[in-house]
């Protein structure tokens, strides 16, 4: 059983931030989220990236859709629970209108999740994305981050659909020393 304390993995946050930059993201729309806080802090410090704090995931995705249509390279940063609140915008703007944007979310409820209260995210996040035929991938090893995030953005642009990159517990957290 996991009984130790966990803290944010700052090194991995930096690697993921660098990968976001490499993918060309220049506009981030974010909503309240605990696990990706250190990534967000780096993004907010970057003067080349415009950031908007949306009031909810669906609103964030609609803003990203408009920004993408207008030539920005946007990314929505959110918790995995946000897929459940965004089916409408994903299906309408993403699938019907073929507007496209990158989504990055924590994946509470994924591999190694001890919090029972995250069971809904396990049950909804990946199944919803699969049901909607929205491409998605989970970063299981940090050395895959740059490749997966860069390729995900190319998929967004080439296939003209939203794509999601999921970040599980072992990527965002590490055991406290």
């Amino acid at each position: 059983m996991r009984e130790k304390k966990f803290v944010y993995n700052l090194n991995n946050a930096k690697i993921i931030y660098n990968a976001i930059k490499s993918a060309g993201i220049n506009f981030v729309i974010y909503v309240p989220e605990t696990w990706t806080r250190e990534i967000l802090k780096l993004l907010l410090q970057d003067k080349d990236i415009e950031a908007v704090n949306a009031t909810g995931e669906a609103e964030a995705m609609a803003i990203a859709a408009g920004a993408s249509l207008g030539g920005k390279t946007p990314m929505v940063l959110m918790e995995g629970s946000g897929y459940g609140t965004s089916i409408y915008v994903l299906s309408r703007l993403g699938l019907m209108h073929h507007m496209s944007w990158l989504i990055m979310s924590s994946h509470a409820g994924g591999l190694g999740e001890l919090g029972f209260y995250h069971w809904d995210i396990r049950l909804t996040a990946e199944p919803l994305l699969s049901t909607l035929l929205i491409p998605h991938c989970t970063i299981q090893r940090i050395d895959e981050a740059e490749t997966l995030i860069t390729e995900a953005q190319l998929t967004v642009e080439g296939q003209k659909v939203p794509m999601a990159v999921l970040l599980p517990h072992h990527i965002l957290w590490q055991e406290a020393k």
């Binding site: 908007v52 704090n53 009031t55 909810g56 803003i63 859709a65 408009g66 209108h97 080439g158 003209k160």
Partner: protein, 206 residues
């Protein structure tokens, strides 16, 4: 002021603005008066103003108009706070407020029961908010707010009840509308062409 008169008033004043339209009869009306590539039609309820805001952020050199409805805006009021706190200086929201869900059978929205959406926009922090009830006042407010360097919000109070004018269905589906709008942005020099894979992306040693 009828709904159609309000749309006609806005349409006749459009020059090169980008227009994002919510669902419903507004689309048929705008299409009948002034169809253009720079109209993005039929964006679903609650989504038109957020899409317009994202577009305005991406293209700050061009004015962006959200033609929204009261029922639609009420589904996502949070966007007013987002716009107010991350201002897009080139965004004007024109709220066609008939106080009812026109496409669903004319029953009242919260606005029809007394909620003041202009008051909510103002309280959210939108700097320029106007309420108008005649085509003349709408034209005046539209011209005034287009000239501002901050976000604007016009609550255009329009009559409830079925429109007297019967218009043809929109001849574009959602996908055609989106791609046509994108092509319009390309032709205006506002965005580049979509990135596409080309044969010369794949090379092999001779």
């Amino acid at each position: 002021m009828t709904h159609f008169e309000a749309v006609q008033t806005i349409a006749h004043r459009l020059t090169n603005e980008l227009v994002v339209v919510s669902v419903g009869y507004t689309n048929l009306e705008l299409h009948s008066v002034k169809d253009r590539k720079l109209n993005l039609y039929a964006i679903q309820m609650s989504l038109a103003t957020p899409v317009a805001f994202g577009l305005a952020k991406a293209i700050p050199s061009r004015k962006v108009i959200s033609l929204d409805g009261d029922g639609s805006l009420l589904m996502g009021l949070g966007i007013l706070s987002t716009i107010a706190t991350h201002p897009a200086k080139n965004l004007v929201i024109v709220l066609l407020d008939n106080g009812c869900y026109a496409a669903c059978g004319w029953y009242s929205t919260g606005s029809g029961r007394g909620s003041d959406l202009a008051g909510i926009a103002s309280a959210a922090g939108i700097p320029h908010v106007r309420t108008v009830a005649t085509p003349q006042d709408l034209a005046s407010a539209f011209d005034e707010l287009l000239g501002k360097d901050e976000p604007g919000f016009i609550r255009a109070k329009v009559e409830s009840g079925p429109q007297s004018t019967v218009l043809d269905q929109l001849p574009l589906d959602r996908l055609e509308s989106t791609f046509r709008f994108r092509q319009g942005l390309v032709e205006e020099g506002l965005v580049g062409h979509w990135r596409e894979a080309r044969l010369d992306h794949y090379t092999s040693p001779r």
